[in-house]
Symmetry: C2
Subunit: 168 residues, 2 copies
């Protein structure tokens, strides 16, 4: 920090607003809600139901997994490969198991992200440019975005989705 | 900060990761994308099209406006009234005008949020408990969530939505 940090006032735009621990809880809270949305789908609809030519929720869940798992490793190591689609396993239970493995990976690796990483510019998955913090928000926001899609699938199947504010 | 701040190491969970200015850009970037989604809707479908009994996108856009406008004022002043639904104006152009007014409000008021506010616990809209930073993320995430719903509406209308990564 520069000597300017001694003169911070209430309107200083460089004020930091969220801790790394809060951001982890924020991410995992969203992942807990998405897990509930996966659970809410009937087995077959999870793999096949679609509106407007969009992907079934199983494919969206796999995209979230394929971002988050190599993602948390890359956040720690700065090593990235190209993003790869992965076919979903054939049962919802197996997808949920993958989901839970990624939950553990994120919890285990998050504290190992070097503190100076968050503001670093880095190309991830061989293509996406931005700061590390912008990439983390992309992972989270992409999940919220596709989960919102899942809510429409569920509603149109006549199923009440879990409340959006549920994060525990 | 306590004297512990002198001994921070790379794995310290209290590391701050995003500045207030970055968070403003993050929020406004999402709002710019949502504005494009509003624009993408045909005039009539914006007010009437629905899937699974969910609200038309006009009602969702009004919810975003009714959260963000009293929201940014409450973030600055700590004054909150109960959340109120507001009926949408009768044209998309009028909704976009409201949208742009809120954009200006947010830009104008954001720097006035006192630096010590972000970690304060506060009940907002007379009902929602949490820290100010958690409420800010709720505003953003609720918008991403409902916008994802709008993407399904557009796709099922045969309209290509704007790219999710567009934020400029």
């Amino acid at each position: 920090m520069s000597s300017n940090s001694m003169q911070l006032n209430e309107t200083d735009l460089s004020t930091q607003v969220i801790t790394r621990e809060e951001l982890l809880n924020h991410w995992q809270g969203h992942r807990r809600l998405t897990r509930r949305v996966i659970e809410a789908f009937p087995e077959e609809a999870f793999f096949t139901y679609s509106i407007g030519g969009m992907r079934p929720f199983a494919a969206l869940a796999m995209e979230m997994i394929q971002m988050a798992s190599p993602g948390i490793k890359g956040l720690v190591t700065a090593q990235w490969e190209e993003y790869k689609d992965a076919p979903a396993p054939t049962t919802k239970a197996e997808v949920l198991q993958l989901w839970d493995e990624v939950t553990q990976q994120i919890d285990a690796l998050w504290p190992q992200i070097p503190a100076n990483r968050f503001q670093q510019e880095e190309v991830i998955f061989g293509i996406y440019e931005g700061t590390i913090i912008s990439h983390i928000f992309y992972f989270i926001d992409n999940e919220i975005h596709h989960r919102g899609q899942g809510y429409v699938y569920l509603r149109s199947l006549g199923i009440e989705p879990p409340a959006f504010w549920l994060r525990d």
